[in-house]
């Protein structure tokens, strides 16, 4: 009798999980289906979800007709470097904010929090002028360069915040033990805290990569030649003056989403290490 109620419970769970899956997945099924339709089929009435024929040419076209391969590469470079910088520098800072005591610590942390509240859109103009006038960098400064694309949003307050929350939940006894054993601060950071933080690092990696991958406004402002375009700008090129080539844009969007899905698939188990998690006690000093 126990087995039967277990089975029913499992079936119910699967049903529930699938319903939720449909809610999340539904629009993307439409996106993919649109990318294999012809333009006429997109607006047919009654609306057709599945096209009569799978028109894969759109995927070929985006690779041939536009700058997409290069844009793809650019987005990859920018996202990877920026994420690496973010994980490394933010974890250093978060460690100090969570563990070390120094004058002005809490005020500096509020400053970090403050930087999270500024919407990207408003910073575009001042950052543009700053990048143009970087000394020693030629007449156009860092415009239209990888450095210009990466640096302004390389470190985010969000990463520092998240990692600090995580560090707070690791018991201090580990630190104290290590100090007594003669570890320097950096050794504590590198050998103890960081390894216990794989879940937070995984989260920051995913979210950093995601935000750089999907960023449109800043690359649009700073990139001036087609070779420097990132993927979201290249996708926008399918928007014409009067029409939008829907199947083409959706094919581009599908292609743009693939690396993220792969990255998330790889990192997902790391969230479940459970140890040194983000939850329970986080004591501040």
């Amino acid at each position: 009798m126990m087995k039967k109620s277990n089975m029913i419970r499992n079936v119910l769970l699967y049903v529930l999980l699938t319903i939720v899956l449909m809610i999340f997945l539904g629009p993307y099924i439409w996106m993919f289906m649109t990318s294999v339709k012809t333009q006429g089929e997109v607006m047919s009435w009654p609306p057709k979800i599945i096209p009569t024929e799978f028109y894969w040419e759109n995927f070929l076209r985006i690779w041939q007709e536009t700058n997409l391969p290069r844009a793809f590469f650019n987005s990859l470079v920018v996202s990877v470097i920026a994420t690496l910088i973010n994980v490394f520098l933010s974890s250093l800072a978060a460690f100090a904010f969570a563990r070390l005591r120094f004058p002005g610590r809490d005020r500096l942390f509020m400053l970090v929090l403050a930087t999270m509240m500024i919407p990207t859109g408003l910073m575009v103009v001042p950052l543009f002028f700053m990048m143009k006038n970087v000394p020693f960098a030629g007449p156009d400064g860092l415009l239209d360069s990888y450095a210009g694309l990466i640096l302004p949003f390389a470190v985010t307050g969000f990463a520092i915040f998240l990692m600090r929350q995580n560090f707070l939940s690791i018991p201090r006894e580990l630190d104290e033990q290590a100090t007594i054993d003669g570890c320097s601060k950096f050794q504590i950071y590198w050998k103890i805290i960081l390894p216990l933080n794989k879940p937070a690092i995984a989260l920051v990696t995913i979210f950093s990569f995601l935000s750089h991958w999907n960023e449109y406004l800043w690359p649009l402002t700073i990139a001036r030649s087609q070779e420097m375009y990132t993927i979201q700008i290249a996708l926008k090129a399918f928007q014409g003056q009067y029409n939008i080539d829907w199947p083409l844009i959706m094919a581009g969007a599908t292609t743009a989403a693939l690396p993220m899905i792969i990255l998330y698939f790889i990192l997902q188990p790391l969230f479940e290490q459970g140890l040194g998690g983000l939850g329970s006690g986080g004591k501040e000093t």
Binding site: A96, F97, L122, A178, N214, M260, I261, G279
Partner: protein, 322 residues
């Protein structure tokens, strides 16, 4: 707290906590001398990150503050005009309205988004065959950019061409509402889309938090006869409170920045009911070319957000009575 991990140091015995405290008090004088050295070392940890943040976030803010006292119409140079921009702001009814709209949007999408995320995380937090498949695909809504997501939903909710109304018509609804053409429904649609994305974004965070709650607590509660709901309210929720606060803060900050979805779906209409703050600032700064005025508007928005965040953090540390 008992941590069942192998102690990171091989061959070193763990000292008892009392011994550690004794040891520390003996070593205090030596420590004072090294305090300065300590502090410099600590600053070195935060220096790189802070340099980036100062250069690329604080400096632009200062520039924006400076701009807010000028009239700046590209490509002409900026002309000082005192507090004129701020006076203009008081008469800008649309600005006030946009803040109100954004707050409604924020409250709605945060409430639905966070409760949805916790619920789904609880659902996912179990050993079930194939659960990893679900976990990966539940993240999908965050993977595409705002613009693409908005375009997809356009085809769902459009009055005459969208799937939703077609399904409704076929199911017998005579005249399904024009979702995006009426103020109330337009805002509801925006909130739902915001919650859709927000839920997907927060599920991994809550999942990680849930994993850290020790099973022993649940077992003890079960022995005491508590049902699932009681377990959830008295064990799960308090355990993830820290993360919940973090997610709420991030949710407010993120919701205030929404603009692409509004641009594509409703363009601020109908009758400015979905005009959100950033869209208004963007329109004033760049479309209408009042960059100085836009800077003033941003400068007012910014402490508002800071205040909300500070409030949330205060409330959370108040709850931290462990």
């Amino acid at each position: 707290m008992y941590w069942n991990i192998p102690f990171p140091y091989k061959g070193v015995k763990r000292m008892k906590t009392e011994t550690v405290h004794e040891y520390k008090s003996v070593m205090k004088p030596k420590r004072d001398m090294h305090k300065l050295k300590d502090h410099i070392g600590s600053y070195l940890f935060v220096l790189p990150a802070l340099t980036f943040l100062t250069l690329f976030s604080i400096v632009p803010i200062i520039y924006l503050i400076w701009l807010s006292f000028h009239e700046y119409r590209l490509p002409n140079p900026a002309i000082f005009n005192g507090v004129e921009n701020y006076i203009r702001m008081f008469n800008d009814a649309l600005f006030i309205k946009s803040i109100g709209n954004t707050m409604i949007y924020t409250a709605g999408s945060m409430a639905i988004g966070l409760s949805g995320a916790i619920a789904v995380a609880v659902l996912l937090n179990r050993k079930l065959k194939g659960i990893r498949f679900f976990k990966v695909f539940y993240f999908l809504p965050t993977i595409t950019s705002e613009v693409i997501t908005a375009m997809i939903f356009l085809w769902v909710f459009d009055n005459n061409l969208g799937i939703l109304n077609y399904i409704l018509k076929v199911s017998g609804v005579e005249s399904p509402p024009a979702w995006l053409l009426q103020p109330t429904t337009a805002m509801i649609i925006l909130i739902l889309i915001g919650a859709w994305r927000g839920t997907a974004y927060n599920i991994p965070i809550f999942l990680a938090a849930l994993q850290a709650v020790p099973q022993s607590l649940y077992e003890a509660a079960r022995i005491d006869g508590a049902n699932s709901w009681k377990q959830f309210v008295h064990i799960t929720l308090p355990s993830i409170m820290h993360i919940l606060v973090y997610c709420m803060v991030m949710s407010v900050i993120g919701s205030f920045q929404v603009v692409a979805v509004v641009d594509i779906l409703t363009n601020g209409g109908p009758m400015d009911s979905t005009m959100v703050v950033i869209k208004h600032i963007w329109q004033q700064s760049f479309e209408f070319n009042y960059v100085g005025y836009g800077a003033a508007l941003s400068f007012v928005l910014f402490p508002f957000l800071l205040g909300v965040t500070w409030l949330q953090l205060r409330l959370s540390s108040g709850k931290d009575k462990k």
